[in-house]
């Protein structure tokens, strides 16, 4: 019996955009054991949040992660608002949804690109990133920045999207939808792509439930678990159904995310159609007190903010449980038994965000 190979996979590894290490134990190229070692992006953000003014924390929360930043600030604001009984104007809610969905799209497109890169489809990566640029541009013109929108604030939003801009948004969405249509046959039907995704990294619905998987990982196993259906922000007034698949493999996760892209296009369009008039923010006075749990749906699944205020401007405790954090146990179930070639694909189809995970 030959010795097993032991290799470090990460932290500085070109297929992983983020520092994460897996200690892989392999036989030939078959992974026998994969143990994650993280902590390369742990900053201690939650602790910092306890030292800052809760208003400032909005900007801090946004920087938990650059990929899902807006929804982080949104979740935080929703939590504080609930704690302080602030009623957010309707228009602000719709605007929040619009930016959330833009963020979801940019996140999914980025994921698409990175996954394509992981299975060595360079031009698909380029195409995904190119499409994503349209969204980024949209965000820049509506919010003033490409990534860190900074538009969410306690009590509403900081910027309005004038209806005059809707035309531009619609055009951009059209072009995205067109690009997606063009990529669809490749992503969903191409032989080589399917060869790399179908049947790889499969988990059963039972396993997904036990490991507490969320977001597309859970949806790909048939759980229609999408926190947007609870109707936070303006989602209650929009019409959509969570996307699900049943196979539970990398391909199913891909399908889910790809369908969610279309869904987001649709949601933004609905927002524009249903956008109410009115103020975009209400003034907020006082300080938060008490405990609250705020939940929203991130691109990768549900995020949980536990906020504990003590009546001062500083928070007593802020805890963020991000979707990737919840998906890592599922990842650990997927890896053993796969081939080394599949490792990046499996990792990327849970769409890990280590920055979120470690905060």
């Amino acid at each position: 019996m030959a010795k097993r190979s032991v290799i470090p996979f990460g932290p500085q590894h070109p297929v992983l955009p983020e520092p994460l290490q897996l200690k892989l134990v392999m036989e030939d190229e078959k992974v026998v054991e994969a143990i994650p070692a993280i902590g390369y992006v742990h900053r201690g953000l939650e602790r910092l949040a306890q030292e800052k003014d809760y208003q400032q924390v909005t900007y801090l929360a946004e920087r938990v992660c650059g990929i899902c930043s807006f929804i982080h600030s949104l979740t935080f604001c929703q939590g504080i608002e609930e704690l302080m009984n602030v009623t957010v104007p309707d228009r602000a809610k719709f605007l929040r949804v619009m930016w959330s969905e833009m963020h979801r799209m940019h996140s999914h497109l980025l994921w698409l690109g990175l996954t394509a890169d992981a299975f060595g489809f360079e031009s698909l990566f380029m195409q995904g990133m190119r499409t994503r640029e349209t969204i980024l541009q949209l965000m820049e013109s509506t919010a003033g920045a490409r990534i860190m929108l900074g538009t969410c604030t306690v009590g509403g939003v900081r910027r309005d999207i004038e209806s005059s801009a809707f035309g531009e948004i619609n055009t951009a969405l059209d072009s995205v939808a067109r690009d997606l249509d063009q990529m669809a046959p490749t992503i969903l039907n191409d032989y080589s792509v399917r060869e790399r995704l179908v049947g790889v990294g499969t988990i059963t619905a039972q396993q997904a439930f036990e490991t507490g998987a969320v977001g597309p990982v859970a949806k790909a196993c048939g759980f229609a678990r999408d926190f947007r259906t609870t109707g936070y922000a303006a989602y209650g007034q929009l019409d959509f159904k969570p996307v699900t698949e049943t196979a539970g493999d990398c391909f199913a996760r891909t399908q889910v995310r790809f369908a969610e892209l279309y869904q987001s296009v649709d949601l933004i369009r609905q927002c524009m159609a249903k956008m109410p008039a009115g103020p975009i923010a209400v003034p907020v006075k006082g300080n938060p007190d008490g405990e609250i749990i705020a939940r929203t749906e991130q691109p990768r699944g549900e995020v949980i903010y536990y906020i504990k205020g003590n009546g001062t401007k500083n928070l007593e405790r802020l805890r963020i449980r991000t979707p990737t954090f919840a998906n890592i146990p599922a990842l650990l179930k997927m890896l053993p038994g796969c081939q080394l070639t599949d490792v990046p694909v499996i990792i990327l189809t849970i769409d890990p965000c280590i920055s979120c995970t470690e905060r």
Partner: protein, 291 residues
């Protein structure tokens, strides 16, 4: 004799340049296919020149020896071809050039480099029989193993008698050019699970040596298309050119429309489908009794 020597010298100098320009064109066209502007066409040459002046970092000395062996045997392959030598022998020399590279990747204690080498060995395993079959096919249709006979005036055009083998050769070529879906051992953009694979631990001038050897290889591969598959005489140079250009485009399109597939998939594909294809062609030749 002296004419041969001059021919050789020109070839040895010109081949890597041509190879580099082909590689540069490749990058440019790839970029355009991805909707980008892309680098200048001479980029590969800049790259090599740059590598030559970088700090020569290395892991162990054996590695360096292998790099030179890789280059020397690649050059020898070219020389044997130009001398019109036995194709099979040339092929073996070429295989050994690849083996040198493999060994260079294996002789370091760097897991990714070693895994890259192992995959490269599998790739060699995948395409070498195809190339041998190709040479056999050439023998069957030309009655000789000698390169000089294949390109001799009046030789039969290979494409007509070996169409399937030509396709098989395209596949083997794609592996050697490290094109998707066959870029498992080392790819030009290093975004893969084994980083850069075989050449991971080569840096600076040593990497430049390997790059130059790669230019030779690119030249060789296209030269085979140009000289062998269309009858080699000046009147038909255009056909050869078109064929080479077609092959070039084919590989770029292939690269841009496929995901990387696992090494074992490639071995299976080459040994089952491509091998069968090539042997069908060969059997057909046997049946025709062209021999």
């Amino acid at each position: 004799m002296s004419e041969t020597i001059i021919k050789l010298l020109i070839a040895i100098v010109a081949a890597p340049l041509v190879g580099a320009i082909i590689a540069g064109l490749d990058r440019k066209v790839t970029a355009r296919m991805q909707g980008r502007v892309g680098p200048p066409i001479l980029q590969p040459i800049y790259d090599v020149l740059k590598l030559l002046i970088k700090q020569p970092i290395f892991l162990n000395r054996v590695q360096i020896l292998y790099a030179f062996m890789h280059l020397a045997f690649m050059m020898l392959t070219l020389v044997l071809l130009i001398l019109g030598q036995d194709l099979l022998l040339t092929l073996f020399v070429h295989a050994f050039a690849t083996i040198s590279l493999i060994l260079g990747g294996m002789c370091v204690r760097s897991p990714y480099s070693r895994i890259g080498s192992q995959r490269k060995t599998l790739m060699l395993l995948a395409y070498e029989p195809i190339l041998v079959i190709m040479v056999v096919g050439i023998y069957l249709s030309q009655g000789s193993f000698m390169a000089s006979d294949v390109v001799a005036a009046g030789a039969k055009p290979l494409l007509l008698s070996l169409p399937l083998v030509f396709i098989a050769y395209m596949m083997a070529m794609a592996i050697e050019l490290q094109k998707s879906p066959f870029d498992v051992a080392s790819s030009h953009h290093a975004h893969q699970e084994i980083v850069k694979g075989v050449t991971l631990e080569y840096a600076g001038p040593f990497l430049a040596i390997i790059e130059i050897a790669h230019f030779y290889e690119v030249f060789l591969l296209f030269a085979v298309v140009y000289f062998f598959w269309a009858p080699y005489n000046l009147a038909n140079a255009a056909v050869g050119m078109a064929l080479a250009a077609g092959a070039f485009l084919f590989h770029i399109v292939l690269d841009n429309t496929f995901a990387r597939l696992p090494a074992m998939w490639i071995v299976r594909f080459m040994w089952v489908i491509v091998f069968l294809m090539a042997t069908t062609n060969i059997i057909w030749l046997y049946r025709l009794g062209t021999i």
